[in-house]
Symmetry: C2
Subunit: 337 residues, 2 copies
């Protein structure tokens, strides 16, 4: 009996939140690599807010995931078989392998990982796209510098938790916005945020006015919606609002434009969007610096790992949008050991 | 009988559009200058979109105009009497003289005008705050450069008409958005815009998609609301959205956040607010360049002058918000000749 490859495919295009019935579990034989190809045994899959956009009818960066296609996902794994001169069996790799146990690849967009530097899961967290998004968004787009007040939304998530920690390392005063007392305590007690606002229990605008009476120089926003509006009303002059994501806006029927956007005019501020892969040339320098902070214990890469294999994917995605995760949400697919 | 000073004062704070009943006409003796002061005979008063903000309950830049106070306004006039060593009788000046026939001043914020360079009214138009707003917004904030596609909203207004013409002078392709066929013809036939979209008759987003299939590099926005949303959906990569004003947003009960703001992320674009007086140090260079273009006939400063004195102020303001003006709207207060 040949080994099997379990996969999660998109069965229907959701209109609001994705439901279990929007996904289908399929089984195929494990693929064999053709010439110039290799096959990866997937260990961990990244559960990303952007996934909601990838399955939306209107493409955002690129074409949407087709009905019947394997769900796209960033993942880490190990080369299982290879007909590719550049990738040897046993090497650890990151790539867009999708929500499946085995993926065939010609190496496009695949990077090799140094498993001795950090646990494999860190390459989906602080050393992966979330960490790189935090790094370039905060430092390049937001130009955060010592002494400034930085606010981060979805601060207990994969990107926000790293963005806030980098701000602290750089000497900024850091305020995190997150949902629930557990997350807020974690931000302050474990990650060194100066303070945290529980948006589920507190009036964000009022508390922010107390915590930052002189205004906010950098807002690293992963959420949009009412939280963006609240922070816009507390900008310092010349503030930088970094649009890293819009977690609250990915369900297309819940669009909320920031009605306080004219605060940009009053405070002479800017709101700027960015896309992490535009910085691909500079990933090595960023990973080196992030890995250094990890090693020194100044940066915590927290991953919340969901067990259960690809079958657990629909529930993991639901958890993400329900805001139930602490740190980067990851799905464990196969045990490589 | 001593000469009289007719004034328009704020009688009530409007909640939506300002009505005639929100204003009061008052009469006082013409003031006399104290030591270090002078009195200006006001010739022309600028009718500005920002006036709606100045009378709003929630201050924006500064405290709102108080109930019972003379309505604030930028104006040009001639020094009528003077006890100030720096301002001689007969000199032409610009300042925040308010909606009244005579204003006392200690010279704060007052600039002298060269009436030989251009008609006095041009100092409320292309050579005044509207022209300076267009100049710094387009060139400094928007960084418009030759070959780029520039879109201007409220393009037939005081600021927009100059912004579009400067973009043309700089070699950009210019698309104006205005209300009605007369304005649109004027933009293309008289001001040299490459094309114009009539937002009252046309679907802005659809037409913009046809006119600018490769996207918009600079959007100079005076309006906000649905027009901002429409243009956001046609940004080129790395576009600059310049928030010069939000004409549609000044009635506080009609707030509309740009629900397409996540396009900033997709296109790696920025949206930046600015305030013209921040550039005061550089006004002389800008006025010199604008005056040069005026003299060469490359820039048209069109002012629409409302007669009737201060009494006509409420109706002039209504015209502005109804979008009935072509070019900069100005109220003629006194004949200085």
């Amino acid at each position: 009996m040949s080994p099997l490859n379990h996969q999660i495919r998109l069965a229907a295009r959701p209109s609001g939140r994705a439901e279990a019935s929007d996904w289908e579990l399929t089984t195929e034989p494990v693929p064999s690599p053709g010439p110039g190809e290799f096959v990866v045994a997937v260990a961990y899959v990244s559960i990303d807010p952007a996934m909601r956009r990838w399955i939306a009818a209107s493409p955002f960066y690129s074409a949407p995931v087709a009905i019947g296609a394997v769900m796209e996902a960033g993942a880490v794994g190990r080369v299982a078989t290879s007909e590719h001169a550049g990738f040897a069996v046993g090497e650890y790799v990151y790539g867009g392998f999708g929500v499946q146990e085995f993926a065939r690849s010609d190496g496009t967009g695949v990077t090799k990982l140094d498993a001795s530097l950090a646990p494999l899961t860190a390459y989906l967290g602080a050393l992966g796209i979330p960490g790189l998004t935090a790094y370039f968004g905060l430092l390049d787009v937001g130009r955060a510098s010592a002494g400034e007040t930085v606010v981060v939304s979805a601060a207990a998530g994969g990107v926000g938790s790293v963005a806030g920690q980098i701000a602290g390392i750089k000497g900024c005063r850091v305020i995190g916005i997150a949902g629930g007392p557990e997350k807020c305590r974690w931000l302050v007690d474990e990650l060194g945020f100066d303070s945290a606002i529980d948006y589920k229990a507190q009036d964000v605008s009022r508390v922010l006015g107390e915590l930052a009476p002189d205004g906010v120089e950098v807002f690293f926003d992963n959420v949009g919606g009412e939280i963006l509006d609240a922070v816009l009303s507390h900008l310092a002059r010349g503030a930088r609002v970094v649009i890293s994501g819009g977690l609250s806006q990915y369900d297309e029927d819940q669009r909320w434009g920031p009605s306080n956007y004219l605060e940009l005019l009053r405070t002479r501020s800017s709101m700027t969007g960015f896309v992490t892969p535009d910085y691909a040339d500079r990933y090595p320098e960023a990973v080196a610096e992030l890995a250094g902070w990890l090693r020194e214990g100044r940066l915590v890469s927290r991953e919340q790992i969901i067990e259960g294999g690809v079958r657990a994917f629909p529930d993991a995605l639901r958890m993400l949008f329900a805001g139930e995760n602490l740190g980067k949400l990851i799905l464990a697919v196969s045990d490589l050991t």
